[in-house]
Symmetry: C2
Subunit: 209 residues, 2 copies
DNA sequence: ATAGTTCTGGACTGATTTGTCAAGAACCAC
DNA sequence: GTGGTTCTTGACAAATCAGTCCAGAACTAT
């Protein structure tokens, strides 16, 4: 009956996301987006609405993906929860350097560029941050149950600390560009968490393997 | 002989800096800058050159100020060095919330917006980061000499960790907007440093005062 | 006061911006 | 095939952008 779209919606959103992450919201023109997606302006407008809506769609898609990643990375059995926290911190560095353009966390980027002026972006970021914090918190509680983290310290506070460290690692990795140094910082950040003696033993074993 | 400028150069740079920090580099037009400074385009161009030069001047002025602040905040006698590190971390949160527009660290903002594409900005940021790290390192060494921080751990690594935590506190404060919660995170971040027993006593005294 | 110099504001240009629109191409159901 | 619908492309308009320029204002040294 009707002609189907000649593009994959998710693929376009990924290309749009990449362009916005490279050049920022204000620094990205519709021509840039057309070039990045290979689509004409009309197609983009018909499918996603104006520039701001298109951005929100791409940003939302990133956040969803990010949340799925965190769920997968932080969930699991209690006796490996501490190691998962360590991987989470280390990955905050490696994701920056693994990317060909050294793109860091998109939520962080637009928290800095837009959150002060754009309410829709700000609320989405808060939601994303809240979910991440919740998942880290569950992982912290798991590590506490396993006897690997000091149970005296409120899990929520530790989770906030881990998330804060993770964002710090991301942004300083971008700014400094020193990969091996930042990996060492990530390890040091992890080591500064209130590990129990059992926790230290468990990590020593996990790292040796 | 000649008419003197009717504006204070430093005052203009401060207004320019504020505007760029609010709306970003690409998101700030020359009309915005004229409105923020009260000057016409001709005056701005004659005094500072084009938009990019004007930005670099304002950014450089910020970095200088930032470095002076760090020098003042981190220098002092060994027996109070640990407390200075604590204040440094706490101030990473309070500077965000003390500002009427919740503007965070400018170097961080433009590390995220521009450092990937603008070499001049990237090198200035690296220089700023290096200086900051050096000052924090000296403060860490002072605290180690005072017996307040574990002397076994390389001061450089601890300094990197403190700087990373500080930037994390800054950006998460902007993103979350939760002031008291972030102050608690700052305290927790400080407490997670490898304090000696003497260090803990010294801090308990300092906080009680 | 006056002359000489510099500063100031805003008009102007050409390039770039976002968003719209219409003409034609592509596709599916029949 | 054919008709009806949707998709696609690029041209277009209105607004905004950075940067230039000039006429007039302001100031100082004499």
């Amino acid at each position: 009956m009707a002609r189907p779209p000649g593009f994959d919606r998710q693929q376009v959103l990924t290309a749009v996301e990449r362009q916005f992450r490279k050049t920022g919201y204000a620094g990205t023109s519709l021509d840039d987006l057309c070039a990045a997606t290979g689509l004409g302006r009309g197609s983009l407008y018909a499918a996603f609405g104006d520039k701001h809506s298109l951005f929100l769609a791409a940003f939302g898609s990133y956040c969803d993906r990010n949340e799925s990643f965190a769920t997968a990375a932080l969930g699991g059995p209690d006796d490996h929860a501490l190691e998962r926290l360590r991987c989470f911190l280390v990955s905050s560095v490696s994701t920056v350097f693994d990317d060909s353009d050294r793109l860091g966390c998109m939520a962080l980027k637009f928290a800095v560029e837009l959150a002060g002026e754009d309410e829709a972006v700000a609320t989405r970021i808060k939601q994303d941050l809240g979910l991440l914090q919740g998942m880290v918190r569950e992982c912290v509680e798991a590590a506490q149950r396993a006897g690997h983290l000091d149970p005296e310290i409120p899990a929520g506070e530790l989770a906030s600390l881990v998330v804060t460290m993770s964002r710090g690692l991301d942004v300083v990795s971008q700014a400094s560009g020193a990969e091996t140094a930042m990996q060492a910082v990530a390890e040091r950040a992890f080591a500064s968490l209130p590990l129990t003696a059992a926790g230290r033993r468990a990590i020593a074993v996990a790292v040796a393997v």
